[in-house]
């Protein structure tokens, strides 16, 4: 479980996140939703420690993460996996080397054991016979799946996904969502997903927070989101004409 209390973050004196408090539960896909530029990515990067926060607390179970030194953070980070918006695969390494990288860095396993683990992770994300390809030779969806394989290579307790569906077609996006949900439940991971994709919200939204202009405006789940009385959330959820028509039909 990850608990965020009264988090504040600003850049060059301009507040980006204001007084965010939220609990991300274990074994659930927790979603952070909001418009582009609302502060979702800053919140995610603050939670994982890529950004220093001005004030507030970030708890990983019973450890106050944001007050730890580099060595203390390193221990928690060994239990994290992260899927970046652009996949962030290492260009100079093959698919196999990318997934093996955390194993090389943090385990003393033999080469055979590492290859076995790499193949297990790649099979788990449906990447087969692509071990020797470089990231430049992969499609967007394949890159995301390889990045997920790398993120789960060390059996993480925490999985962070920053816009996992960006740049993907709707069918591939659904497959990626399903994969994240399956992995979360299978390994009882605390997963946090940043998204503005409503398909993801309706598929995976077990615990959702809505961020608008750096503030948490709403919290609930996928069943509650369609009947919210938060206007900014409704503007976001029912932004396209199809959703507006469906809403109107529902009301009738």
């Amino acid at each position: 479980m990850i608990t965020v209390k009264n988090l504040n973050k600003s850049f060059y004196g301009k507040p980006v996140l204001e007084d965010i408090s939220v609990v991300f539960e274990t074994g659930k896909t927790n979603l952070i939703i909001g418009r582009s530029g609302s502060g979702k990515t800053v919140l995610l990067k603050s939670i994982v420690g890529l950004y220093e926060i001005e004030s507030g607390e970030i708890w990983y179970e019973d450890t106050l993460f944001n007050k730890l030194d580099f060595a203390g953070k390193k221990k928690i980070r060994s239990e994290m996996g992260m899927l970046f918006q652009g996949s962030a695969l290492f260009d100079s390494l093959t698919v196999e080397q990318n997934v093996m990288f955390p194993l090389d860095m943090f385990t003393d396993h033999s080469l055979e054991e590492k290859i076995e683990r790499v193949n297990f992770c790649l099979t788990r994300v449906d990447i087969i016979n692509s071990n020797n390809l470089f990231p430049a030779e992969l499609s967007g969806g394949m890159k995301k799946r390889v990045a997920i394989a790398r993120a789960i290579a060390l059996n993480p307790k925490y999985l962070f996904c920053d816009e996992p569906n960006s740049g993907l077609d709707p069918i591939t996006a659904i497959l990626i969502d399903a994969l994240i949900k399956e992995l979360t439940e299978e390994y009882s991971i605390t997963t946090i997903v940043n998204t503005h994709d409503m398909n993801s919200v309706m598929e995976n939204g077990e615990n959702i927070i809505f961020i608008n202009e750096g503030r948490k405006c709403w919290e609930g789940n996928k069943n509650e989101i369609l009947n919210s009385d938060c206007d900014t959330l409704n503007d976001f959820v029912f932004a396209n004409s199809l959703a507006k028509k469906l809403r109107a039909a529902n009301k009738k």
Partner: protein
């Protein structure tokens, strides 16, 4: 001024991060070997070509300026040798490497920054500055002196070829000239300068790339800054080191 001091302090904090204890020395060794090829072996060609032609031009210009019969002909060889060893092999090679290696380092690390590859390393708990930059520093600190020695040999060779083919000096006179009053310390001086310059090129370029913020445009700007700042600092240190080592 405050911006300059901020950057200066940031640079030293960056160096502290680069020189912290490696997580897995075996992986760093593998990276260092790969950087020897990328930054060292792949630079031999350009250094050899430029040194050859520079040696040739120095010989011809020295001959042109010492046409008076009171100057012995072997002075052309001597002038070529000392110019190449004292200045051209280390400083001009460093300026060329600032362009080739410096821009390469800044662009590579800058691209890794904007495509979140450095963030991915940090999330894994890897000290990204140390993992990415220490192998480059070790490779250039060890290999650039070899490049300088290659530049000296090829430069003098180029001078000899140009001098004899153009008829401004005989081969015997040239060889006598390059052996005349030879001071081995000049080689040490040149290598010491090269080591400093290698450190400047790699660390300044990596610093520019590591703190890129934005997209491809900023990566391009960082690359340009890496070359300009490295070159200016090399020229400044050239004066300081020459005064310290030759006075």
């Amino acid at each position: 001024m405050i911006k300059f001091l901020t950057q200066f302090g940031r640079y030293f904090l960056f160096l502290k991060k680069v020189f912290s204890k490696p997580e897995k020395p075996a992986l760093y060794f593998k990276q260092t070997m790969s950087e020897f090829v990328n930054l060292g072996l792949n630079s031999i060609g350009i250094i050899a070509i430029i040194s050859f032609f520079m040696g040739a031009v120095i010989t011809l210009q020295t001959a042109y300026n010492t046409e008076n019969p009171i100057y012995p002909k072997y002075l052309i060889g001597l002038g070529c040798r000392d110019s190449i060893i004292l200045e051209f092999s280390s400083t001009i090679s460093a300026l060329i490497l600032a362009g080739k290696v410096g821009s390469n380092i800044a662009a590579e690390i800058g691209t890794m920054r904007v495509t979140e590859q450095i963030d991915a390393l940090e999330i894994m708990g890897v000290n990204s500055a140390s993992y990415l930059i220490l192998p480059k520093l070790i490779a250039t600190l060890l290999f650039n002196p070899i490049l300088t020695l290659i530049a000296i040999i090829v430069g003098i060779f180029g001078g000899g070829i140009a001098g004899t083919l153009s008829g401004v000096i005989t081969l015997e006179n040239f060889i006598y000239g390059i052996q005349y009053a030879f001071i081995p310390y000049y080689i040490v001086y040149s290598v010491i300068k090269t080591v400093f310059f290698a450190f400047i090129i790699t660390s300044v370029s990596a610093f520019q790339g590591y703190y890129v913020d934005g997209g491809s445009l900023e990566v391009g700007r960082a690359s340009t800054k890496a070359v300009v700042y490295s070159s200016v600092i090399i020229l400044l240190f050239n004066v300081i080191l020459t005064q310290l080592l030759l006075s």
